[in-house]
């Protein structure tokens, strides 16, 4: 019999509803998996055993009464930059060590309302700044496919947990690729929705104009189901979208016949690993065979996306992270004066990458530099939006690799921040444009590491994005699981 921890959300939902097992059984299976894998992976920062148990028991009561909610009783993990009431939330930073929020973020509270069981909080690069989950004050997360490798980041904990089965699904946040790139590196599906679709209330801000919460799951339908549970206007977030929600899972079975698919020229050559390129090409050919109209599309401004991103995101973060000052919560290092106390707290509480970005952002916003840096970056952002808009006048979706390489070795890029920044080369542009994008696993490279395929769509184009993703998933028929997940699990 399959270990319950390896079920998809859809299969687990059917099992729960048929009475084959209970939500408590499912939680037990996931916690048993975590008990084995955590020592190798460190996907979680906090396992909320008590809270999860209460939620699973409540789900069983509701299931017995015939409650049809799709996520009822499903064990999920949340990235630790999502605020959860009463459960320690640190964003992987020393500066928030021990902080137990007095409130639930909107996504967390919508998931609770959906009956989901929140297993725990997953590791991330501190304040979501990084692409490997190595920049965590609490130690790195490792890739379940090969523990010498990184799981990607910053949502590496969520991706690793889903890949290995210590959660059936998870949520992360994506500012420049932080959901899609770790999904790609762990063989999972990760989606960044249109900016404004999921409320940011309760997401510890990194770069407010780019941050979006999104799902990580093992299949495209699972990711769609997770996303559907959290989208919707929120009066607590002034940037939340207050119009008709796009349909997300309506067209999963519709195939790609007649759809126009654009292959992004700038993401199809230089800087992309040949094995990744070859696998991507193969999927594109199959999409074409399946009836899609495939064309090449150039997005010239994408060349400047990384530079613009590394001005805009640090600028926003320099203000967003100013509130961590030791005055009201979190770490406090005493000083002779209040000013000294604040300075010492921040110097001690933030890790090197966070400090670097705060300094970079502060500089970019300073008088005399603003226009050359921040102002210029905003102009690039506008150019990029125009590029995307004109591309979507010609095609329904754009495709590219998700990550220029498969999972790299732990420590390989930590010494050189710039190389690390290039890990997001394929994903950053959609954040700047505010558009949705999804990563779907399509195979393994020679080293046995997963390769991800990215599908980008215009704002509110989730329906067609998931439609193509589902077809890519069928065509790629990727069924491999990481060794750590399939190794014999010790039975209690």
């Amino acid at each position: 019999m399959t270990d319950l921890a390896d079920l998809t959300i859809a299969a687990a939902g059917r099992g729960l509803r048929s009475g084959a097992f209970t939500a408590v059984d499912l939680l037990d299976a996931v916690e048993r998996r975590a008990a084995v894998t955590e020592a190798h992976l460190h996907a979680y920062l906090t396992l909320d055993r008590a809270g999860a148990r209460v939620a699973a028991e409540a789900a069983d009561v509701a299931l017995a009464a015939g409650d049809p909610r799709p996520l009822l009783g499903i064990p999920l993990a949340l990235k630790d930059n999502m605020v959860t009431k009463g459960v320690e939330t640190t964003a992987s930073s020393q500066i928030l060590a021990g902080w137990k929020p007095p409130y639930d973020g909107t996504a967390a509270s919508r998931l609770r309302d959906a009956g989901a069981v929140i297993v725990g909080k997953t590791n991330l690069d501190e304040f979501a700044m990084g692409s490997s989950t190595e920049n965590s004050a609490y130690g790195p997360t490792r890739n379940p496919w090969n523990t010498d490798r990184v799981p990607g980041g910053s949502s590496g904990g969520s991706a690793a947990a889903v890949a290995v089965g210590s959660a059936l699904g998870a949520f992360g946040s994506d500012t420049g690729g932080s959901i899609r790139q770790p999904a790609s590196l762990t063989g999972t599906v990760g989606a960044k929705p249109t900016y404004g679709l999921v409320s940011r209330y309760g997401l510890i801000a990194f770069a407010s104009s780019l941050d979006q919460i999104g799902p990580i799951a093992r299949t495209v339908p699972d990711a769609a189901a997770l996303l559907e549970a959290v989208v919707g206007w929120d009066p607590m977030d002034a940037t939340s979208y207050n119009g008709d929600m796009p349909s997300i899972s309506k067209s999963l079975d519709r195939g790609v016949a007649g759809l126009r698919i654009g292959v992004v020229t700038e993401l199809s050559g230089e800087g992309i690993d040949p094995e990744v390129l070859a696998a991507t090409k193969q999927v594109i050919d199959r999409l074409s065979d399946a009836g899609a109209d495939v064309v090449e599309i150039s997005l010239p401004a994408i060349e400047y996306a990384l530079s613009a991103y590394y001005l805009i995101a640090p600028a926003e973060c320099s203000a967003n992270l100013a509130r961590f000052d030791g005055v009201r919560y979190g770490l406090r290092i005493d000083g002779a004066t209040t000013e000294e106390m604040m300075a010492k707290t921040r110097a001690e509480g933030f890790g090197p990458e966070v400090t670097r970005r705060i300094l970079l952002g502060t500089y970019a916003l300073s008088a005399g530099y603003y226009d050359a840096f921040y102002g210029q970056a905003q102009r690039v952002r506008t150019l990029l939006r125009n590029d995307f808009a004109s591309a979507y006048g010609r095609v329904d979706v754009l495709v590219s690799p998700t990550s220029p390489t498969t999972a790299f070795e732990v420590g390989a890029k930590t010494a050189d921040p710039l190389t690390m920044y290039f890990a997001d080369i394929c994903t950053i542009a959609t954040n700047l444009a505010g558009d949705p994008a999804i990563s779907v696993p399509i195979g393994l490279d020679d080293a046995g590491l997963p390769i991800g395929f990215q599908i980008m769509a215009p704002a509110l184009g989730e329906e067609v994005m998931f439609q193509v993703a589902a077809e890519v998933e069928r065509l790629a028929a990727f069924t491999e699981r990481p060794r750590l997940a399939t190794s014999k699990v010790v039975t209690p």
Partner: protein, 482 residues
């Protein structure tokens, strides 16, 4: 000797009395226990986000409309970055380019000398928390700890920035007073200087008269009344002139007004030290104010103090009583009711701003606690107009009415103050007086009119002041003509 001219611009902060704070649902109520009107948003907990308060935006728009500003169609929110323990986010949400309102004006009057002060902008800000330094001195230096109360953090503020159009301390005071009246008339704030719900930062510089180059300015803070603003500016002008005339120069700095010493003292130097790194707040979308919204705000504009004063003058009130009345809500209401019922505006105005105000002060009561109504004012005015009461008697009757002794006619009768206007009675009294003063009659007949007043006085005395003096005078004139 150089003639100097002062150039003054005023930044005014007004705390809006909205139901809830600028960006969260916490109640605006300064009377609460410390840190009870707080939530994740105004405490800047991780993950919390601001959502603009529509009521506050409308309040700001109404001020902009009253100051004849252009209301901006797509207004932007900015972050103003600086670290301070009572500023929870360590940035303040404020406005920079595209504030809510631009380019307005406010007319002020000093001793009948009208000036128009340009309004640069009216924009939104949020208040900070309150620091209390605990230690020997009660000041930040030497304190061993600081207590923070965030009840006020996030309370909506509006900043009204004037052009440097003000030329004297008196004009500055008149501007401050008029702005306070406008804000109160709009009902958006109680604008109390002593409680800090209205605060002035005054920029003062001097230059040789006739020059069009601006001198270096200082920013004077801590002026907690209109009077201290006037004094502080006067002091600062004198100080700057003295510095310049003795060959010194003025530094761009903040100076604090010390009310007790009657002097400003140097605070923070501004030069090069402040870079707020303004940038558009990514948590807040541009605020779209469509034409309908702008029209609605304008349509709701109440009668402003200047218009009200002009109307009172047009009704017949004296300029000075009109000014006083327009400022006094409940008296103005009585005035309007009485005048619209036909009473003479000038008389009513004088009574209300004279006897009535004096009575209220003396007895420390409000108008509602007295026996005075619009009806009694109308009746009283009628009695004086008909000659039933002398002006002096009318004031006495008014006192009785205020004290609750009854209607004017009841009071007049009870106190026996009604004038004798019966012609035959008066004639008898006049004839009696004339009989006693033939010499006076002689003088009058010889063309000297002075004794008329004397004779009137004699008749008034004989009648206990109740005779109608006009009738008496007419009669004496007639009887003394040859």
């Amino acid at each position: 000797m150089t003639e100097w001219e002062a150039v003054i611009g005023i930044e005014t902060h007004v705390e809006l009395q909205t139901k809830s704070k600028m960006f969260c649902g916490c109640l605006v109520d300064s009377g609460d226990e410390p840190n009870t009107a707080v939530c994740p948003v105004c405490l800047a907990l991780p993950g919390a986000l601001p959502v603009p308060n529509k009521e506050a935006i409308e309040g700001i728009l109404s001020i902009g409309d009253a100051l004849e500003c252009t209301l901006i169609e797509d207004s932007l929110f900015y972050r103003k970055n600086y670290f301070y323990p009572d500023l929870p986010k360590n940035y303040q949400i404020s406005q920079y380019t595209f504030p809510l309102c631009l380019d307005g004006r406010l007319a002020v009057d000093v001793d009948g000398e009208p000036t128009v002060v340009g309004i640069t902008r009216v924009h939104m800000e949020e208040d900070t928390g309150k620091s209390t330094h605990i230690g020997v001195s009660g000041r930040i230096h030497g304190a061993n700890h600081t207590l923070l109360d965030f009840n006020r953090a996030g309370v909506p503020l509006v900043e009204v920035v004037s052009e440097p159009d003000i030329r004297s301390p008196e004009q500055a005071r008149a501007y401050g007073a008029e702005l306070q009246r406008v804000v109160r008339t709009l009902g958006v704030s109680d604008a109390r200087l002593e409680e800090g719900s209205m605060r002035f930062d005054v920029n003062v510089s001097v230059r040789p008269a006739g020059s069009d180059i601006l001198g270096t300015r200082t920013e004077v803070k801590n002026v907690n009344s209109l009077r201290s603003m006037q004094r502080a500016i006067a002091y600062e002008i004198t100080r700057q002139i003295e510095v310049l005339e003795s060959g010194g120069s003025i530094h761009l700095e903040t100076r604090h007004w010390d009310e007790a010493k009657g002097a400003t003292r140097s605070g923070r130097t501004k030069e090069g030290s402040e870079d707020y790194r303004y940038f558009q707040d990514p948590d807040l979308l541009p605020l779209h104010i469509d034409e309908d919204w702008r029209k609605r705000v304008h349509a709701r504009r109440p009668e402003l103090p200047a218009a009200k004063r002009a109307r009172y003058v047009a009704l017949g009130a004296d300029r000075s009583t009109a000014d006083l009345l327009a400022d006094a809500g409940d008296l103005a209401a009585l005035f309007e009711a009485a005048v619209s019922a036909g009473a003479d505006a000038r008389t009513i105005g004088i009574w209300l701003t004279g006897e009535v105000v004096a009575y209220l002060r003396r007895e420390d009561v409000t108008i509602d606690e007295t026996g005075l109504s619009a009806d009694s004012l109308v009746e009283l005015a009628g009695m004086t107009g008909d000659g039933d009461l002398s002006a002096t008697a009318a004031k006495e009757v008014l006192g009785g009415v205020l004290a609750g002794e009854g209607t004017p006619s009841q009071v007049a009768e009870a106190r026996d103050l009604l004038q004798i206007s019966d012609a035959s009675t008066i004639e008898t009294e006049v004839m009696a007086v004339l009989d006693q003063h033939p010499d006076a009659i002689e003088k009058i007949r010889n063309g000297d009119s002075k004794p008329i007043g004397f004779l009137v006085g004699q008749v008034m005395r004989a009648t206990g002041g109740k005779a109608d003096p006009r009738m008496v005078q007419d009669l004496i004139r007639r009887k003394t003509q040859a």
